[in-house]
């Protein structure tokens, strides 16, 4: 591979949460399953829970209603209650790709006894382009689900990508 020079601008969000930093951090991490939008899942079974292991190099994965587990990424930096960096290893095809690393950094800054500023950044999005190697291989081997999706899109029909649940 040649050196990558395309950069995709990071996604940045900031918000104020009316609670203390300890709780904000805990809700974002240990209790992620309480708030994660149920529509987002890459598993075959409907989403039952999202689990983020509370330690450096911890797993980040979803558990389906049938008990099956599907990896999403891992914990890169674990600094409670001020900072967590996660690897989001999901491609544009909604597949977990072990070699794909995009980074989510979330920082929690107390600005009062019961107010916390949350700064969120999803970066290294250009890595999603590398994951497309796998997509291309699927195209060349004629993966039927994807080809069907392309055909439907070309004809203006509604399609459902194979691994998206709950649309």
């Amino acid at each position: 591979m040649e050196a990558r020079t395309i950069k995709v601008a990071p996604i940045r969000k900031s918000l104020i949460v009316k609670t203390d930093a300890d709780k904000a951090f805990a809700v974002f991490t240990a209790k992620i399953g309480n708030w994660w939008p149920r529509a987002f899942t890459i598993g075959a079974s409907p989403l039952k829970d999202v689990i983020l292991e509370e330690r450096g190099n911890g797993r980040w994965y979803e558990r389906g209603e049938d008990g099956s587990e599907c990896e999403w990424g891992k914990v890169l930096v674990w600094e409670p209650p001020t900072r967590v960096v996660l690897a989001w290893q999901i491609s544009g095809e909604w597949k977990y790709v072990p070699d794909l690393i995009t980074e989510l950094e979330v920082r929690f800054t107390a600005i009062g006894a019961r107010e916390t500023r949350v700064d969120f950044e999803h970066r290294k999005l250009e890595a999603l382009g590398d994951a497309a190697e796998a997509v291309r291989a699927q195209l060349e081997s004629g993966w039927p689900g994807l080809l069907e999706a392309f055909a439907a899109a070309a004809e203006g029909r509604p399609v459902q990508m194979p691994s998206i649940q709950g649309m």
């Binding site: 040649e2 996604i11 709780k23 974002f28 999005l125 497309a132």
Partner: protein, 116 residues
């Protein structure tokens, strides 16, 4: 409410864009356009492939929604189409808005007995 999951069309666009950029030569062709709109001849200059090959790469990039072209006199000028490469980024941007709102609501929800 959740309403921003990508349509199949949007995801197919994003997939095509990413797949198109997976080819190293095609990526170099694409990167040539970062400095601005250029005719095929200028894009091909210095690349180790023939001008017809460059035209083919440009056609793939155009199909994937990554570049657009226009006639300028007798030349054809290509430029980056920001809607192509940005398709998946746009989806993620919307997704994180939804997810972070849900996080905020959960974080601000008064503790219930089962959590005590």
């Amino acid at each position: 409410m959740w309403s921003d999951l990508p349509s199949g069309k949007a995801m197919a666009d994003a997939t095509a864009a990413l797949a198109a950029l997976a080819d190293p030569t095609r990526r170099r062709v694409f990167e040539r356009l970062r400095i601005g709109p250029q005719p095929v001849g200028a894009i091909a200059r210095g690349l180790p492939v023939s001008r017809p090959a460059v035209s083919q790469h440009l056609a793939v990039l155009k199909t994937a929604g990554l570049v657009t072209d226009r006639a300028e006199g007798t030349r054809r000028v290509y430029q980056i189409d920001p809607n192509g490469l940005g398709a998946i980024r746009a989806w993620l941007d919307q997704f994180w808005d939804e997810a972070l709102l849900a996080f905020k609501e959960e974080a601000e929800r008064p503790a219930t007995e089962e959590e005590e």
